[in-house]
Subunit: 202 residues, 2 copies
C-alpha cells in the first residue's frame, strides 16, 4: 500500500517469468492432475499475472504444448541413457527406464499422450515425440544387427515394443492393474515380447 492508499503494483523481472510459469505448471500438474492446470492457478503458483501465460506461451494450450515437449525430451533421454555393452540388454534397460520415467511423472506422462488426441500440435512438438520413437528404433536396429533379435523392419518392431510399454505403464499409472508385482509383470511382458521377437530366453 502506498502512502496515498493506492495498491502498489509489483512486477516480476521478465527473464524469470517463463521459467516460473513452466515450473509452476509442472508442479501443479503432478500435485493436482489436469484439473490443477488453470491459467490463474499456475499464475498464482508462479507469483505472476495470468496474462504472463499468454505473453510467454501464447495460450494455455501453448503452455501444455511446452509440457508435452519437455515430457518427450525427458522420455527420449530415459530410453537413451543406458550404456550396457550388450545391445539387447541396452534396449531392455531403456525399456525399464521408460517405465521408471512414467511412474516418476505420472501426470506428465498421461498428459503427453492424452493431448495428442486433443491439442493441435506444432510440427516441432510432434518431432519431439518422433525423436523418442527414433531412439527406440535405433536401439532395436542395433540389437537386430547384433543378431539378438530376428531381422525385420525395425520401425515395425519398435512400434510393437512401444505399444506394449505404453499400454503397461498407462494402465499402471491409472491404477488399472490387477497383477500382484507390477514391476515383475512389466519385465515379464517385455521379456515375453522380446522372446517372441527373437531374443534368447532370459
Amino acid at each position: 500500500m502506498s502512502a496515498k492508499g493506492k495498491a502498489v503494483r509489483t512486477r516480476t523481472s521478465s527473464t524469470e517469468i517463463g521459467d516460473s510459469i513452466f515450473d509452476g505448471a509442472l508442479d501443479l500438474l503432478e500435485e493436482q492432475g489436469p484439473a490443477g492446470l488453470t491459467v490463474r492457478g499456475v499464475a498464482i503458483r508462479a507469483g505472476v499475472a495470468p496474462m504472463g501465460v499468454y505473453s510467454r506461451f501464447g495460450s494455455k494450450d501453448g503452455l501444455i504444448e511446452a509440457l508435452f515437449v519437455h515430457g518427450f525430451t525427458t522420455l527420449q533421454d530415459a530410453i537413451d541413457s543406458p550404456t550396457e555393452p550388450d545391445p539387447l540388454n541396452r534396449l531392455r534397460a531403456g525399456c525399464l527406464a521408460y517405465r521408471h520415467f512414467a511412474l516418476s511423472h505420472p501426470q506428465l506422462y498421461h498428459l503427453m499422450f492424452a493431448q495428442m488426441m486433443v491439442l493441435q500440435l506444432s510440427e516441432e512438438s510432434l518431432e519431439s515425440a518422433r525423436h523418442s520413437f527414433a531412439t527406440l528404433t535405433e536401439r532395436v536396429s542395433t540389437a537386430m544387427h547384433a543378431g539378438e533379435l530376428r531381422s525385420a523392419d525395425p520401425v515395425e518392431v519398435a512400434q510393437q515394443i512401444w505399444s506394449a510399454m505404453h499400454g503397461a505403464v498407462s494402465l499402471e499409472i491409472a491404477d488399472v492393474h490387477f497383477a500382484i508385482d507390477r514391476e515383475a509383470s512389466y519385465a515379464s511382458m517385455l521379456d515375453a515380447l522380446l522372446h517372441g521377437l527373437g531374443a534368447a530366453t532370459r
Copy 2:
C-alpha cells in the same frame, strides 16, 4: 410465441430425457472429441434444457461416468463375442475385436481410460472395467487349460495382453503409429506376445 407475446415453454416427456442426453453426448463425443462435451452442447443436441444433465446424471461428471460404463460394457461384449471352438483362437479373435471396438469408437475408447486418472469413479463403474478384464482373464485361463499357453497366473498373463492391446490401440487412435500396415502390426505384436507366453508359432 403465445398470442400475448410471451414465449411458450415446451417440455420434453421425462421418459425420453436420459436417453436423448446420453445419445447426444455419445454423438458429440465422437464428432468433436472431449471439447464437444459441454453441458449446453449436449442439451442442445438432445433438445432439452441443460438442467436435464443434472437431474438425470447428477453432474457433467455423472454423464461422463455413464459413457465410461457404456464403453466398458461394450468392450466386454467385444472380447466375449468370438465363438471359435479353439480356446487360443477364441482369445486371439477377442483381442482383434478389442482393436475393432477401439477403432470404431476412438473418442469413447480414449475417454474410458483418460477418465480413470481424472474422475472420481463409483465402485459400480470400476466394476464394469473389472468385468471386461475378467472376461479376458477367463479366455486366457481356458487357453492355458487347453495347453495352448504356458501355465502361469492367468491374471498376470491377461494383464500383459491387455497392456499390449491397450498400448497399441491407444497409439493408433492417437495417430502416433509409424508402422505401415497397422492391422498387421497389431496382429504381429499380439502373435509375438502370445508366442512368448507359450503359444505355438502362428
